[in-house]
Subunit: 324 residues, 2 copies
Amino acid sequence: MRSHLYHREGIAYDVLRYNMGWVDVDAKPIASRTGKALRPTLCLLTCEAVGGDPALAIPGAVSVEFIHNFSLVHDDIQDQDEVRWGRPTVWSIWGKPKALVAGNLLRAVADQALWNLDKQGLDYTVATKVVHLLTESYLSMIEGQYLDVAYEGHSDTELAEYLDMISRKTGALIRCSVNIGAVIGTKDTVRIKAFQNFGRSLGYVFQIRDDMLGTWGEEKKTGKPVGSDIRRKKNSLPIVHAMAQSKGTQQHQLKSIYAKNEISGQDVVDVLDIMATAGSQEYAENLLQEHGSMAMEAIDNADIAPTTKHEISQIVEFLLIREY
Amino acid sequence: MRSHLYHREGIAYDVLRYNMGWVDVDAKPIASRTGKALRPTLCLLTCEAVGGDPALAIPGAVSVEFIHNFSLVHDDIQDQDEVRWGRPTVWSIWGKPKALVAGNLLRAVADQALWNLDKQGLDYTVATKVVHLLTESYLSMIEGQYLDVAYEGHSDTELAEYLDMISRKTGALIRCSVNIGAVIGTKDTVRIKAFQNFGRSLGYVFQIRDDMLGTWGEEKKTGKPVGSDIRRKKNSLPIVHAMAQSKGTQQHQLKSIYAKNEISGQDVVDVLDIMATAGSQEYAENLLQEHGSMAMEAIDNADIAPTTKHEISQIVEFLLIREY
């Protein structure tokens, strides 16, 4: 990954290296906490699990991680988020116009990373398939982001609409990471299909847990106060559930809180109470476990080596219980 | 082009169709003035000129035009421009978050358009070459946009820096349009090289004329008041030249005007006077003609059919004298 952002000169690349957590704001190398690298890990591990050489999947893994990071740079502009992973976001340091362009640059670097697919001797038809999978998942991710913005402030988003939105916004790239690992690693359509199912369930697991942390996560672990998604009126599973399930005065109260321009600390407490009555946390936890089980079931059907299966189940386990 | 934006459902695509000038703000079909379609025209005409079948170049031509339009959607956000081609810009109607995402979507649609390269029976190595040329030019364009934002408000941009910036920001995609037409149309490296030179010169012609219109263009033709680039303190050839060539009190006056937050009507008149003394218009016109001659010289070296040569020279002529 680093080689792709170090072979070109220019301040725009310093901004991108900052975003990856490799340098500080003055472009000095640092060791900082970065992302979980979930997507490239899934890609390489899937490739290995289905019997392929993970080295062949590296260009795809790198590209997926750059696309993910590109989306974070633009997301932070949209949501006006000033901090991510404990560091000031790109736009909060360099301003929105530069952040917008830097994000687009990272998107292009992701495309360029794919040039290495062929160089590694991967079959042309497989390389083309990988490029198409990435473009499709990218399209789907952007469509999901558009829906997310479009639903903002709506108090009547249906659960089905919400699940469709997250399946695109977050799920698409996670599915894609798994899918490209699979198609690079094997031609066995049964295994490829099993990992497709795995990727689909894992996408839900990731976002449902994310939504739970945004509502009930502990500040000292997530870096965000309890109820931060409520305060920011973000589309998230707990609120969509509570809106749909709460009744009478509670539903009325919920809607009037969400109609406000600014949500107060007391409002957050009230919303959490309404969610408790509606059983939103149990609902989310059940849905989470359901998708976790489906993910593991898919892996059981893929007939893979026990050691790799153990590694994959550890990732699923982590995503089910993570607290940050 | 239309088929790529009509085969998917969703409001995000209505926004993109609006941006292309095909529908109004309520998604009703309209006949409106759209862009000049310069890039796809160059691509198809070049392919024909070198002896190829222009039909094979259509996916590339479509992709280039979508990338161009993507960049306009994001540019308008950055520059806070509320009107383009006489219509409200996407962000001014739907807000910046949606416009940002819609732009990214169009970028992905551009990638998807390239899938048709193979389907048309184009040789795999040529198709790959086209994809790489597009990614490279896209990278270069974004780097140029970053430099443009980074130079903003600087009063000491060197002419060489400025020319490098426009060669990337505007030149890259114009060069690419010509290059992909050439590599799809022929394997003759002499002709490909000749068209590379043509594309390079034409990129300068396009942007230099654009800069001249932004400073001295007539409002009733450009849709913008005389001196609009001055008022907006945009990086442009006339101002870079005047900064470098003006002397003594005039240079001092110029710098103090550009140090202001808001530039008044009188300031614009003063800057135009300083440019007149510095000979900025003659300088720009000479540079424009120089690149126009280089473009035509390159075509002379490509040994193409007289009718196609005539069509190409008409495009060059138009770009040299266009008033909008």
